[in-house]
C-alpha cells in the first residue's frame, strides 16, 4: 500500500488549517480510509483538542524522533473512528526538535500502512513549514477571502511551486460569508481563485457550529445537518477523486427565511 501524504498549509495563522485537518481527516476516515493526522505545530499543538483526544496522548512526534517510543505507540486512535489516528505534536518543545528528514522518514513509514497521511502545518514560512512540507507530495492551501490571507496564500503557493516533491496543490477557501459576497463587501470565491490562479478543492461557509464543535472536541463533519460539515465531506470526496459540485452557499431569501435568520442571529448574540 502507498498512502498519499497531503500537507495542509496556509502561511497566515488563524485561517483554519487545524480545523480543516481535523475535519477532512475525520471525513476521509468515515468514508472507510485509514488516516493518520500529524500535528507538526510543535510547541503550539491544538489538533488533539479539536479531535477531543487531549487526554489520551502519551507520546508525541518528538518522542518518536528521539526514539523514546515506536511510531505505532505514538499513534492515538480516535474515540469514534478506529480508522483515524493522531500523531500529536509536543507542547513543551519547539520547531527545532524535529527536522525535515525525520518528518520525511515518518511519512514514508506511515505511507506503507495508511491510505492518507494529513500533515497539519504550522503558520509561517520558516522551519516548521519546511519540515511539514518535506514528506508531502500534495498540498491543500487554506485561505479566507481576506486580503492578508490571500497574500500569504500566494506566497505559500510560490514556495510550494518551487518544491519538486509537491506534485499538486489545491485551494480551500474557508470562512466564506455568502451574504457579504452578495452585497459586494467581500471578495467572492471567483475573485480569489482568479487572483491566485489555483485549482479549488473546497469552499467552506463561515459557521458558528465550528465554535461549538471545537468546544466539544467533535469535528463538524460528524454533524449531518451543518452546512460546513457538508462542505468538508465534499472536500474529502473530491480528494478521493469524486466529482462533486460545489455547494450553493447563498442563503434562502423568502420572508419566512429572513425572519428565521433574524431569530438565529439573535439567538447567537444571546
Amino acid at each position: 500500500m502507498t498512502g498519499r501524504v497531503i500537507v495542509i498549509t496556509s502561511g497566515k495563522g488563524g485561517v483554519g488549517k487545524t480545523t480543516t485537518s481535523a475535519n477532512i481527516g475525520t471525513a476521509l476516515a468515515k468514508a472507510g480510509n485509514k488516516v493518520v493526522l500529524i500535528d507538526t505545530d510543535i510547541g503550539l499543538r491544538n489538533l488533539d483538542l479539536l479531535l477531543g483526544l487531549e487526554n489520551r496522548i502519551v507520546y508525541t512526534i518528538v518522542d518518536v524522533v528521539e526514539e523514546r517510543c515506536k511510531l505505532r505507540q505514538a499513534l492515538v486512535k480516535d474515540k469514534k473512528n478506529p480508522n483515524l489516528s493522531l500523531l500529536a505534536a509536543a507542547q513543551t518543545r519547539d520547531k527545532t526538535s524535529v527536522n525535515a528528514d525525520q518528518l520525511k522518514d515518518i511519512c514514508e513509514q506511515l505511507k506503507k500502512k495508511y491510505d492518507f497521511i494529513l500533515v497539519d502545518c504550522p503558520a509561517g514560512i520558516e522551519q516548521g513549514f519546511q519540515n511539514a512540507v518535506a514528506g508531502a507530495s500534495e498540498a491543500i492551501v487554506v485561505t479566507t477571502p481576506e486580503m492578508s490571507a490571500v497574500r500569504d496564500a500566494d506566497r505559500i503557493i510560490g514556495l510550494l511551486e518551487a518544491r519538486e516533491e509537491i506534485e499538486s496543490y489545491k485551494l480551500l477557501l474557508n470562512r466564506v460569508r455568502p451574504n457579504l459576497i452578495e452585497s459586494n463587501d467581500m471578495m467572492s470565491v471567483e475573485d480569489v481563485v482568479e487572483i491566485l490562479s489555483a485549482e479549488l478543492i473546497g469552499v467552506i461557509p463561515e459557521d458558528t457550529g465550528i465554535i461549538t464543535s471545537t468546544n466539544k472536541g467533535e469535528p463538524i463533519v460528524n454533524d449531518d445537518n451543518a452546512l460546513a460539515g457538508q462542505a468538508y465531506r465534499n472536500v474529502a470526496k473530491r480528494i478521493m477523486g469524486e466529482d462533486v459540485p460545489f455547494l450553493d452557499l447563498r442563503q434562502p431569501k423568502g420572508i419566512v427565511d429572513k425572519i428565521k435568520n433574524l431569530f438565529t442571529k439573535l439567538k447567537g448574540k444571546v
Partner: protein
C-alpha cells in the same frame, strides 16, 4: 395622480439603491485591485523605486521618437492567467518628425562618442548607424514607411490603453 407618486417613489428608491450599491461594490473591488497590485510586486520582487526607474528610462527612450505626456504614462505589471504582462499606456501628443529625430540621435551619438572614447569600436559602429540614417533621409519611400510606423504606433497605444481600462 397615484401613478405619478408611484413613479416618483420608485425613482427615489432606485436612486438610493444605486448609491448604496456603488459604495458597496467598491469595498470588494478595492480589495481585489489592491491585492492584484501588491501581489504583482511580491511575485516579481520589483520595488516601486525600480519600477519608477524603469518608467523613466522607457520615457527617455521613447521621447526620442515621440512627444509624450510624461505625467500620464502608465506602467504596470499585470497577470493574465499564467502569463505576466507589462501594461504600458502611453499618451502620445504627437510623433516627432524626421528632422527632430535626426537631431536627437545625432546629439546622442556625439554624447556616446565622448563617453566611449576608450572603446573605439563601439563609437565606430554608432557613427555607421548615423550614416545609414542620413542615407535613408534621401529616399522618399522610406518617408512613407516612417508615416506608416507612426500610424501603427498610435494604434498600439490605443490598444494598450483599452487593455488598461479593461483592467481597471
Amino acid at each position: 395622480m397615484k401613478d405619478l407618486f408611484a413613479s416618483l417613489y420608485n425613482k427615489v428608491l432606485s436612486f438610493f439603491h444605486q448609491a448604496e450599491n456603488k459604495d458597496k461594490e467598491s469595498a470588494k473591488d478595492v480589495a481585489c485591485n489592491r491585492l492584484k497590485l501588491v501581489l504583482m510586486q511580491d511575485r516579481t520582487n520589483l520595488s516601486p523605486a525600480i519600477m519608477e526607474r524603469m518608467r523613466n528610462e522607457l520615457i527617455d527612450l521613447l521621447s526620442k521618437y515621440l512627444e509624450l505626456d510624461r505625467e500620464l504614462l502608465d506602467l504596470n505589471l499585470a497577470q493574465e492567467d499564467d502569463q505576466m504582462a507589462l501594461m504600458l499606456s502611453i499618451p502620445v501628443i504627437r510623433a516627432k518628425d524626421e528632422k527632430e529625430i535626426e537631431e536627437i540621435l545625432k546629439a546622442e551619438d556625439e554624447k556616446n562618442e565622448i563617453n566611449n572614447e576608450e572603446s573605439d569600436e563601439e563609437s565606430e559602429s554608432d557613427s555607421d548607424e548615423n550614416e545609414e540614417n542620413e542615407n535613408s533621409e534621401d529616399d522618399e519611400s522610406d518617408d512613407e514607411e516612417a508615416l506608416e510606423d507612426e500610424d501603427t504606433e498610435d494604434d498600439e497605444e490605443s490598444e494598450e490603453s483599452e487593455n488598461d481600462s479593461e483592467e481597471k
